[in-house]
């Protein structure tokens, strides 16, 4: 197992700089860390974000800039904490600790990213981190309705990725993300990285075309985020999401859902 280096995980006070609604249910929030982070996050690492008065919740790093100490997250409001978060105004102070989880940088030159809903968050950071170009990084982004897609394609393009959308309305592919996936010719991709809600991942597993390496960014309830409480242990897999994940390979993912 990877040794987590002493002192690399820290608590930071952060200040909300901007909060933009980018689709009917996705908000892009940018924070400033009030001290310079001692380490730079790497995809698909996450943070425990403390929303004062509410809870601390796991959020993927969706963007980071070490020069001006800004950190972005992509939030889908689902419950009290995320709803309040999405409503917060600029200038608010919050806390966070991180960076948590294990990095995974796929080797190769051409990648397919498959993102469902807020699963787009870590993918955005991959695009930035890998220095993507439309040739190098293709992103299949899927939701139920067109409104949930919103501005995401532009965001993906801005970060160098080539967006391809799937929804039940006016999207590049009209249908579910899974159907869209099965129509993609995987030849030429060095890796496929999938990020989305558990049901999406579960359903995808038996459609996977194993000629290309597939990786899955999973979710599990996180309490400590640092490998002590055991809350995030993954079914039959003797691993912890918070320190061994959140990304797992195909075999591990199959074991989680078996």
């Amino acid at each position: 197992m990877k040794t987590i280096l002493k002192h690399s995980i820290r608590y930071y006070s952060i200040k909300l700089l901007s909060n933009n609604k980018i689709s009917s249910n996705l908000y892009l929030l940018m924070f400033k860390t009030l001290d310079k982070p001692v380490t730079e996050p790497k995809p698909p690492q996450f943070i425990m974000l403390w929303v004062p008065g509410y809870e601390a919740i796991p959020m993927s790093v969706a963007g980071f800039n070490g020069e001006n100490n800004t950190l972005s997250i992509l939030v889908k409001p689902v419950g009290p904490t995320t709803k309040y978060l999405a409503s917060m105004s600029c200038g608010s102070y919050l806390g966070m600790y991180g960076f948590l989880g294990r990095e995974y940088i796929p080797p190769g030159n051409k990648f397919l990213f498959i993102a469902g809903g807020s699963g787009l968050a870590p993918i955005l950071y991959y695009l930035k981190y890998l220095g993507c170009t439309p040739h190098k990084c293709h992103v299949l982004f899927g939701c139920w309705r067109r409104g949930e897609i919103g501005d995401a394609p532009r965001l993906i393009s801005k970060l160098g990725g080539k967006p391809y959308t799937a929804c039940l309305g006016e999207c590049d592919y009209q249908g579910t993300i899974l159907d869209a996936y099965t129509r993609i010719n995987l030849e030429g991709y060095d890796a496929v990285i999938v990020s989305g809600p558990p049901e999406m991942i579960k359903n995808m597993l038996d459609k996977v075309n194993n000629t290309v390496n597939h990786y899955f960014i999973l979710e599990e309830t996180i309490k400590c985020g640092i490998g002590l409480c055991g809350k995030c242990s993954l079914g039959k897999l003797d691993k912890l999401l918070c320190i061994d994940g959140p990304l797992f390979n195909y075999e591990d993912t199959v074991r989680v859902y078996s």
Binding site: I9, S13, W50, C224, C229, G230, D238
Partner: protein, 301 residues
Amino acid sequence: MDLTTSVTGIVFKHPVMNASGILAASINGVRILAKTGVAGIVTKTLTLEPREGYLPPITIPLDYGLLNAVGLANPGIDAVNVLVEEIHRYGLPAIVSIGGRDPGEFQVLAEKALDAKPEALELNLSCPHTPGFGVDAAATDKALKHIALNVSSISSIPVWGKLGFSRRIVRESEILLSNGVDAVVLINTLPGMFIDVYVGKPVLTHGYGGLSGPAIHPVAVYSVYKVYEELGAEIIGVGGVVDWKTCVELLLAGAKAVQIGTGFYMVGYDIVHNILDGVKKYMEEKGFSRISDIIGYAHRK
């Protein structure tokens, strides 16, 4: 080189085990711990009923340790059988940590735990951040004595009593030991608080929590040394063990074994192997052949 150590008659293949609260609240957690190479597994403190614990944030990383207020989240004493069974599957001694709100609860918990046939019971008399439990349940000498008697009188296996630091740690240890408890586990976390200055509020959901890790190591060494010196007791040392040196310090101070909590986070799950490698090199350098040669060595004149 002989790394085995016998604590209250239980033989451990080496002196390093986990501290209560680390992973062993589920079968999965036990499995992950077993793979780290620990010589025994201490369960999460089990209470009569399952407990959800506090909402996150339940931990705050500090440069020199950790603050936590998990709130004794645990599956309840009824999970004891599956936990002990799983620990035994790996051939390891199982120590069941129990936490009651009063001597009566401790007795009921002990009874249930004994049914699972663990190797020892550990009484959590010292959780500092869960009202009603830990330090609250053991707040007076009378309560301490009563809990010790209630459990030891029905226990066929060794009973360990886990205390936090206090100026009365020798006295409290003495009360436990003279009322049937076989060993003391020293020390639990110290109460601590972290305030986010910009938010202007304590960060832990519970407000305050327990301080662990390197920050409390000198206090743990002091506590072990003092209790060993005054009472010659069997002691399990815990607090800030993050490498072989901090482990050896506790052994020299008089601990027969050590437990690790925060180290698993600060160093990673290879910490047990790291420590054992270091301990072996140290014993070679110093010419010790048995762990028992080290235990209490700092007390020689």
